[in-house]
Subunit: 170 residues, 2 copies
DNA sequence: GTCATGTGCTTCGGATTCGAAGCAACTGCC
DNA sequence: GGCAGTTGCTTCGAATCCGAAGCACATGAC
């Protein structure tokens, strides 16, 4: 109870902090650039980019939520915002009457195209500038593995078990 | 066509996405664990951890804001919340009458101690499990360099009040 | 067919965030 | 001493986020 000394050594702590800080700093700068260049939030940009990358330019809400790391309700909010601005359209899925298909519009693509160069430039300046080619490859490999692992690890695994305990079972 | 083609190759994109996704996923899981274990937000945990790490257990607001990547106003909000819960105290700095010194309380340390084991466990399960020792070292090195570069290079939004250049309107 | 359960998305309420503006104290210069 | 510009923090308003609850359709059991 009183102890359980931290099983994290200095290197692990360093990696953890570096990951959090680097991503936070990068995200902040990117958000500012996106705001300036196209009045987009980071999520909105991610959504547009995802849609623009899709062959048909459209995806279902659930698939979008899976790709991005946001909550369903947050996604709804942003999709509404984007629709108001005419950057995407939302329509009922043909198959499933409940499903909503989001599609990027030409204007959406235009905004994307307008924002992209600056986005890339910022990444070059902030993230890639101090890294070698090999560093980038290594980074992609290591973080890719970490991400894949986290994606498939259920939230209630060894470390994070717990659910609301409501007395009876559910 | 008229626009500059994206100077980002597949590897760079992979590294970028992996960084964002991995940190987002990790952050979400960690936030949930912190909420469950000690009713703390991620920022609050970072603040407590930073204070707990300081020799005297106290720091000035500005120093805290520098360490964490949050805005001044957000820091004020969280500090107030923590103070209400009795996890920190705030007092005027002796030197500078404007300055506010934040100090972690015994109760704050207790909450920290309670939350820490689960936090570490989660990191082990989610982040470090799929990585070798060498991976972690490499990660710390690469991301550490990236972070340091970002900290000193960019126009920071949080640092806000910039020096004005004499003789020109802004 | 009908009911029970599951799934997809939205709505609702509350918490947290940020930037801009505001106040107070410090510093340098005269 | 007094003024002007800086710096440290807070307040304010608006935007964004999430989880829980709700609604509507879908699917499976009977």
């Amino acid at each position: 109870m009183t102890s359980t000394p931290p099983p994290l050594d200095a290197t692990q702590l360093g990696a953890y902090f570096a990951l959090i800080e680097a991503s936070s700093l990068l995200k902040h700068s990117v958000e500012q650039q996106l705001r300036d260049a196209g009045d987009l939030s980071y999520v909105q940009f991610q959504l547009l980019a995802t849609l623009g990358d899709a062959p048909t330019g459209s995806r279902r809400m659930t698939d979008l939520a899976d790709g991005v790391v946001y909550s369903r309700s947050g996604l709804t909010y942003q999709a509404q915002t984007l629709e108001k601005r005419g950057l995407v359209t939302r329509s009922q899925s043909a198959d499933d009457e409940r499903g909503v298909t989001v599609t990027i519009t030409d204007e959406g693509r235009a905004v994307l195209a307008e924002v992209f160069p600056g986005h890339v430039g910022l990444l070059d300046d902030l993230l890639f500038a101090p890294l070698s080619r090999a560093d980038v490859e290594t980074l992609a490999d290591i973080l890719g593995r970490a991400r894949d692992h986290m994606r498939q690890t259920p939230p209630r695994s060894a470390g994070a078990r717990r659910r609301k305990k409501a007395g009876a079972e559910n």
